[in-house]
């Protein structure tokens, strides 16, 4: 057996232990960072998607209102049924937007023929459902009632004399991410985001 010389050193036991401890620590820290990055990426992606969804929801509704006739809400009745209906007279099509949990439903009905102007979203006389388009709002929590998706029909500057000028104020509030069960984000929770979109639509001038 060849005798071991001092020119062929290996790790000593203490060096080995020391290296393993450092490596373990570094690996742990690296894993924490990597896991955090992945969570961060997933959350950021959800926020981006939800932001687009929220904007698309409002754009879609306001576009339909601009080209059609708003059926409901008449006066602040939106919170009662969480839906909004717009009639497009040339085609006799009625578009109904409604929210439930994390999905928005866009349902299109056709009146054939349109005998009288519908007065509510639930006015089903003589109409046939064309299609229902479901827009899934992924990981988007929509608190119920006025804090979630609300529509207010306003008057002009002088409500007594100038009620023909109207605007619709649409407020859309939603949360993204974790810890949303309470309806609001926990303070300093970077994995929870809240977005409020307010828009007004002048109906008379369109």
């Amino acid at each position: 057996m060849k005798p071991r010389t001092h020119h062929q050193p290996g790790f000593t036991f203490v060096e080995l232990l020391f290296a393993i401890v450092i490596m373990g620590t570094m690996l742990s820290l690296t894993m924490v960072v990597v896991v955090g990055m992945i969570r961060f990426y997933v959350f950021t992606n959800q926020q981006r998607q939800n932001q687009e969804n929220g904007r698309n929801v409002l754009d879609s509704i306001t576009r339909d209102i601009r080209f059609g006739t708003l059926i409901t809400p008449v006066v602040n009745d939106f919170s009662a049924n969480d839906s909004i209906c717009v009639l497009n007279p040339p085609t006799n099509k009625l578009t109904k937007y409604s929210l439930a949990s994390n999905q928005m439903y866009k349902t299109i009905y056709t009146y054939n023929p349109l005998t009288s102007m519908p007065t509510s979203c639930n006015d089903s006389d003589g109409r046939v459902k064309d299609s229902t388009k479901i827009i899934t709002l992924d990981r988007m929590y929509i608190p119920a009632g006025i804090n979630g998706f609300s529509v207010t029909l306003t008057k002009g500057a002088h409500p007594a004399n100038f009620t023909d000028a109207k605007a619709v104020i649409i407020k859309f509030r939603f949360l993204t991410g974790n810890h949303y069960a309470t309806g609001s984000c926990v303070a300093n929770n970077i994995y929870c985001g809240e977005l409020v979109l307010n828009t007004a639509l002048n109906i008379r001038g369109k």
Partner: protein, 175 residues
């Protein structure tokens, strides 16, 4: 076994981990940069909606009043303390914002100075922006139409640079 073969030294191991740490750090900063981009986009989205909100509120206000009828409530000349003459906001130029009055369910013109109601309004409409300023300015004349410039300005967190969204619309007598 050759005498030239040896294990890694502690310094080499530490150096390798330093490189690994640097790579992870760069990657993490990239993810953080993406997150900041999302926040910036959200702020712009909110500010755009606020500007649109103000523009449509102003249009509704105009539509509810005659353009320049001295015998009635007028958009340009006004006829009541609660319905100010918008011409007085053109000359001299004076900024304002439009606030929805819940009690009367109608719109009201709010001067930006000396009160800070417009700042509070901006915060209410877009809470994620943080402290933001909201100002509408009018230019033009009754004969040609009035340009309304709606400006929303905010400063993102950890930044010294203000961000601005501006929406300009033309108001005319015949819409």
């Amino acid at each position: 076994m050759s005498t030239t073969r040896r294990g890694d030294t502690l310094i080499e191991v530490l150096f390798a981990f330093a490189i690994l740490g640097a790579i992870v750090g760069v990657t993490f900063s990239g993810a953080l940069s993406g997150y900041k981009s999302v926040l910036a986009a959200q702020n712009h989205t909110q500010a755009t909606f606020v500007a649109q909100y103000q523009a449509d509120a102003l249009k509704t206000y105009r539509d509810s009043l005659e353009w320049n009828d001295p015998t009635a409530y007028s958009f340009l000349t006004g006829n009541s303390p609660s319905l100010p003459a918008m011409s007085s906001y053109i000359t001299p130029p004076k900024a304002f914002c439009m606030e929805h009055q819940i009690s009367t369910n109608s719109w009201k013109v709010i001067p930006t100075a000396p009160t800070d109601t417009c700042i509070i309004l901006a915060q209410t409409l877009a809470p994620q922006l943080g402290p933001a300023t909201l100002a509408i300015t009018l230019t033009g004349a009754a004969t040609t139409g009035v340009y309304a410039s709606i400006k929303v300005t905010w400063r993102p967190r950890n930044s010294n640079i203000d961000q601005t969204v501006t929406n300009t619309i033309l108001l005319t007598k015949d819409r």
